[in-house]
């Protein structure tokens, strides 16, 4: 049995995407900047991909900038909006405490350059924020609001169109890191008043190493990568055309199947949550309703996440954890801490992000495996012994 339940980390590249990419390596391999036919064919394909991406997101082709992935798009969006604001004396940025590190670390860099960052606290357990929280935090000198569309760890989906409306009313740039949402939720940047949006191909069965930044016309981008005049001079480097074509095809495929995929995943997610909830002293992280159809995240008291992952791997299940041991730092996931999980409990977290091809029997196998591994690890845990003997109080 092999079950890949880490689709929030990366996904299998779809056959359609792979097939669509091959011609751009084998025959139409010219540089889109070259004048001869090899290049011009590539240029046509590049602009065709841009139009199709724009069509899906509901924007103009010229508002799409191809990047190396979500992290680069986040960096460029945030730095651009910050520097635009600074020119007008606006050096305040609003974000949340549960953003991806691509956002948080960029904000830390800006803080060192003199920007003031407000990280909105999230609601315990659900991790939600409201548009009125954003509105209340807005100031005269706010240059940017950046709030993720959906959380990569706990799956919580944020009220993006409400936040977009607030930002529009106050004439503040609104960026969303939509890496976990694009291809999984229907998004229209204009209807949702999104000024900038980051996406990454490999989260929706596209290839690695390619992404895009949607940037509303009129917002002047700052270059992160200097060099040639590609991407209207805003992102140097020969375009990754096979990747861009693969991403476009993968996104079209994912978007065409959103309803079907969601209908398939929702009952299976509910079954998985119900099954894991039966494990004593466990608790679901993230919101129950406003949640990605693929995401399930639990904390299990008395155990540590890395050993849980290794034993699940032995059973053929690929998953992820927010424990310190898996993050390579001493602290567990900042997201779990932000939603109010204490260290002891956050170390025992498990994220399962299921894909389209998961079946009901896979779900039952996951439940059974997690339950037996958790029990096994608890039986060798001194913390669990203390909890059971009443020497330590249960948190969950």
């Amino acid at each position: 049995m092999k079950i890949y339940a880490d689709n929030a980390a990366t996904t299998r590249t779809s056959r359609t995407a792979i097939d669509a990419m091959i011609p751009y390596m084998e025959s139409i391999y010219g540089n889109p900047s070259s004048l001869y036919e090899f290049g011009q064919e590539a240029k046509v394909a590049l602009e065709d991909a841009r139009s199709r991406m724009a069509n899906i997101l509901g924007c103009e082709p010229r508002e799409i900038l191809f990047t190396s992935g979500g992290s680069e798009a986040d960096n460029q969006a945030i730095i651009s909006a910050a520097y635009l604001g600074a020119k007008k004396g606006k050096k305040h940025i609003i974000s949340t405490s549960v953003e991806h590190h691509a956002v948080l670390h960029t904000l830390n860099k800006l803080a060192k350059e003199g920007f003031e960052i407000t990280l909105l606290p999230v609601e315990p357990i659900t991790g939600l924020i409201t548009a009125s929280q954003v509105e209340a935090a807005l100031r005269e000198d706010t240059a940017l609001v950046t709030v993720m569309y959906a959380n990569n760890e706990i799956g919580t989906i944020y009220p993006i169109s409400e936040i977009g409306a607030v930002c529009k009313a106050h004439d503040v740039i609104f960026h969303t890191d939509a890496v976990q949402a694009v291809g999984h939720i229907n998004i229209n940047v204009k209807e949702e008043n999104i000024d900038m949006l980051s996406l990454s191909a490999h989260k929706f069965h596209g290839p690695r190493g390619v992404g895009a930044l949607y940037c509303r016309r009129g917002i002047n981008l700052t270059n992160i990568i200097e060099g040639g005049a590609q991407e209207r001079g805003k992102r140097a480097g020969t375009e990754n055309l096979p990747g861009i074509v693969g991403m476009t095809v993968a996104l079209e495929e994912a978007v065409a199947n959103i309803e079907k995929t969601t209908c398939h995943l929702l009952p299976l997610r509910a079954r998985l949550i119900a099954g894991l909830s039966k494990i004593p002293h466990s608790s679901l992280n993230g919101d129950k309703v406003s949640r990605l159809p693929s995401n399930v995240n639990f904390c299990f008291e008395g155990i540590e996440g890395e050993s849980l992952l290794l034993l699940l791997d032995d059973k053929g299940i690929a998953a992820s954890s927010g424990s310190a041991c898996t993050s390579g730092s001493l602290d567990p996931s900042h997201v779990l801490l932000a939603i109010g999980r204490v260290h002891d409990v956050a170390h025992g977290s498990l994220r399962l992000s299921i894909g389209e091809d998961i079946t009901e029997s896979d779900i039952d196998y996951i439940i059974e495996s997690v339950a037996s591994v958790v029990e096994y690890l608890r039986n060798m845990s001194p913390i669990w012994r203390d909890l059971v003997n009443g020497k330590r109080e249960f948190i969950l």
């Binding site: 008395g302 890395e306 050993s307 032995d314 041991c325 060798m380 845990s381 001194p382 012994r385």
Partner: protein, 143 residues
């Protein structure tokens, strides 16, 4: 998984000496839940020989493997030998640990020392304070 050696994975998957000794002659516990690892060592001692040893560990794969290996290295051995067990010996016996997991072997060494300290204290036996620091603690948490 390439993260760990086969030896580590073997001791993680099939840990030796797991459990508790109800009438232990000594118990040592180090680490804390906040850091994500706690090791507890139970010893049964007769005529200065460790006749039985068990462990309980809350922690990652290398923490469990380090505990298992450390108990194997001291089982049946005289106290003097257990007292000289180093984290390096544990790491080597496991065919190495990734750099950021070395602290797991340190914790195993300290857990054993903490148990030995308990034994000496219970029995009013003088011991070498250089080998067993007064404050046996999980060093990496306090860096």
């Amino acid at each position: 998984m390439a993260l760990y050696s086969d030896k580590v994975m073997d001791h993680f998957r099939n840990p030796r000496n797991v459990g508790a000794i109800e009438d232990a002659d000594a118990i040592g516990e180090v680490g804390n839940a906040k850091c994500g690892d706690i090791m507890k060592i139970y010893l049964k001692i007769e005529n200065d020989i460790i006749v039985d040893v068990k462990f309980e560990t809350f922690g990652c794969g290398s923490a469990i493997a380090s505990s298992s290996m450390a108990t194997e290295l001291i089982k049946g051995k005289p106290l003097s030998e257990a007292l000289n067990l180093t984290n390096k010996a544990v790491t080597e016996a496991l065919d190495g640990l990734p750099a950021h997991k070395i602290h797991c072997s340190v914790l195993a060494e300290q857990a054993i020392k903490s148990a030995l300290k308990d034994y000496y204290t219970r029995n009013n036996i003088e011991y070498d304070h250089d080998l067993i620091p007064d404050d046996v603690e999980c060093a990496h948490c306090h860096d």
